[in-house]
């Protein structure tokens, strides 16, 4: 038998079994899927996309449509005829403007407070702590998320009550403090992730080129982690804007947009008006996201 020289093509022996029989339907299907990446992708995405389209966007659309209806003030039944009346009321009646602005103010305050608390915390976690401590700190930040929202809100109620640990009493400031506490992890985690991605060598390079701490922070750390802060703010801002439970528990007699919506669905039985009020935070969020998009923060979500 002659030994083939390297580089000489050798006819491959037919592999036994497998290729001789015609492939079964499952194998044919698998092979077809392998060839058509597009089909494969759409099959995988079909269910989640249907969920997103029907349940999420669909309900938003339904909300929007409902906002143009009204209720019969005598029977309380829905009247499905188009009217601008709800939006007209929302925009012209003083109290709704006040509530909307107050909600916006609370959301902005919560976001700023969280950013100020979260940044040093995230920086210590990402850049100063040993890997072991880092792990524990991440767990410590995450554990409050395992506890029920209500328990945490009532815990703050107890702390804030006039004979409680803090004793600030209830009201708008109490609401801001409670919401800041509740959403803090949502600010810490994106900033932590952003700082983790920031190579240590950039900080060293700044120091090497003569920059002291504050200057290095201002010229290198801040501009490179700003998108992460904005990403965190999307969470704290939107969660605060829609909240109505914390304010019920610690807000005293203060009202936010969420309460107006809640009261109109429940006590007032005016679903169309509630829907019109509920579009306010949606519009604010869309404006905010459009503004945020320019910073490139949405890529770091």
């Amino acid at each position: 038998m002659s030994v083939p020289l390297p580089g000489t093509p050798v006819a491959p022996a037919s592999p036994p079994g497998r290729m001789d029989r015609p492939p079964g339907p499952r194998r044919r299907l698998a092979a077809a899927l392998h060839r058509h990446a597009g089909v494969r992708l759409s099959l995988l995405l079909a269910a989640p996309l249907a969920w997103l389209g029907v349940a999420y966007l669909g309900s938003l659309a339904a909300l929007f449509v409902t906002a143009f209806w009204s209720t019969d003030s005598f029977t309380g039944d829905l009247v499905r005829t188009f009217t601008w009346a709800n939006f007209h009321d929302v925009l012209t009646i003083e109290v709704y403007r006040t509530v909307a602005l107050r909600s916006l103010g609370v959301a902005v305050a919560v976001t700023l407070i969280d950013a100020v608390i979260a940044f040093p915390m995230a920086f210590a976690m990402a850049k100063l702590a040993s890997p072991r401590t880092q792990r524990w700190l991440v767990i410590a930040v995450l554990t409050p998320l395992w506890a029920s929202y209500l328990v945490k809100a009532y815990a703050w109620r107890v702390m804030l009550s006039s004979d409680g640990l803090l004793g600030w009493g209830y009201g708008l400031w109490a609401t801001i403090a409670t919401l800041s506490y509740l959403w803090l992890p949502y600010m810490i985690l994106p900033i932590y992730a952003g700082l983790e991605r920031l190579p240590d060598s950039l900080l060293e390079a700044a120091g090497d080129l003569g920059a002291r701490g504050w200057r290095a922070f201002r010229t290198v750390v801040w501009p490179l982690t700003f998108p992460a802060i904005v990403a965190g703010s999307v969470f704290t801002f939107s969660l605060s804007l829609g909240d109505y439970i914390a304010v019920k528990i610690v807000g005293g007699r203060s009202q936010l947009i969420g309460n107006v919506v809640y009261d109109n669905i429940g006590a007032a039985n005016n679903l169309p008006f509630a829907a019109a009020v509920a579009t306010i935070p949606v519009v604010i969020m869309l404006v905010y996201l459009a503004a945020v998009r320019r910073t490139g923060a949405l890529e770091s979500l």
Partner: protein, 349 residues
């Protein structure tokens, strides 16, 4: 080698430098003097402590014991921004949100150098690394070699006493690396600044530097010129790490050299005689063996020869008159290796 230099000509002086990370001693007592204007290499395998020494000179790590002097001034406890050194980082560490020009001007801006002078010096620095016209680009729009040059310009523009380079060519491909070796050397001669660079590539250290310190397990094994380190390795580690070790020891040393101990001969100093009875000159040594392996490498061929007296030696021969067909046929041939006695060196185990 340990004559003490006068202070003003010493760029870097390390005394009893140690660094432990928990139970691990990364640097276990390093003494070193680097003269002004030297191109100095710290060579060693990964984990040998060379990078940690560099980082302690830069100020990124503080030593567990010992001292760091720059130009005769003790800087052991000073922060990086208080030291007259600049670093070219292994990953270049260019600020991604700044243009090339802003990167290069960063150090000058921090030191409050006026706008006009800043621009002028930055432009000159970019010119010296042949990057004119790239001022407005972002680091992401540059190739690896170009980033490397920006990092160089950004450090050199500050005119530091010492420039520290951490594996400066490690991330570049072979062709570019060879080009940059020559360029770095030229640049250093031009600016006259002391260059201290860390590398694990022995060829890089041999080609670029005035002197080399070979590191192993947190200690310096040998300091010397490339020729000294290569021709006269003082320990088996240096012999093995810088070049191919080619050691003759034990019974083989007694049989071939008539002496006890461990000796090193570099592969290119050996002559391969195809006749096992080839004559050996008065100032030469010879050993008979069998060719075990032939590795054809284009310009040269490496032969692995098993000595009859025990042990094996690597021989490097230029392919002056032969082609691959001929040399590969030598596998199994009986040969005599001949070398001049002045090329064999005793090694302290």
């Amino acid at each position: 080698m340990f004559f003490s230099m006068p202070d003003q000509s010493v760029a870097v002086r390390l005394r009893g430098l140690r660094k432990s990370f928990g139970p691990v001693e990364a640097v276990a007592g390093v003494d070193l003097e680097i003269a002004d204007g030297e191109f100095f290499a710290m060579l060693g395998p990964s984990g040998s402590g060379k990078t940690t020494v560099l980082r302690m000179i830069a100020g990124f790590e503080s030593p567990t014991a010992g001292s760091v002097e720059l130009g005769g001034r003790d800087v052991t406890r000073l922060a990086p921004f208080e030291r007259d050194v600049n670093t070219v980082f292994q990953d270049y560490a260019l600020f991604p949100h700044m243009s090339v020009l802003d990167n290069v001007e960063y150090g000058l801006r921090v030191k409050k150098v006026g706008r006009a002078e800043r621009r002028e010096r930055a432009t000159a620095a970019l010119r010296s690394v042949r990057l004119e016209g790239f001022e407005r680009r972002g680091p992401a729009q540059l190739s690896g070699g170009q980033r490397q040059r920006v990092a160089l310009a950004r450090a050199l523009v500050n005119r530091p006493r010492v420039l520290l380079l951490d594996e400066p060519l490690g991330a570049l491909d072979l062709k570019l690396r060879e080009e940059m070796q020559v360029e770095l050397k030229e640049l250093q001669r031009e600016v006259g600044i002391t260059f201290l660079f860390v590398t694990h590539d022995q060829e890089e250290a041999l080609t670029m530097s005035d002197r080399i310190a070979v590191f192993d397990r947190g200690r310096i094994e040998q300091v010397g010129t490339p020729a000294e380190v290569y021709e006269r390795p003082s320990t088996p580690f240096v012999a093995g790490f810088v070049g191919t070790s080619n050691l003759i020891s034990g019974e083989a040393a007694k049989a071939v050299l008539g002496r006890d101990g461990t000796f090193s001969v570099r592969p290119e100093k050996l002559r391969l005689a195809l006749d096992a009875d080839a004559p050996v000159g008065a100032d030469e040594h010879g050993a008979i063996g069998t060719v075990a392996e032939v590795v054809y490498a284009g310009a040269a061929t490496r032969f692995v020869v098993d000595l009859d007296a025990g042990g094996r030696l690597m021989v490097l021969q230029q392919n002056r008159d032969v082609s691959s067909m001929e040399v590969t046929e030598l596998r199994g041939a009986r040969v005599r290796l001949v070398w001049n006695r002045r090329h064999e060196f005793a090694i302290v185990p």
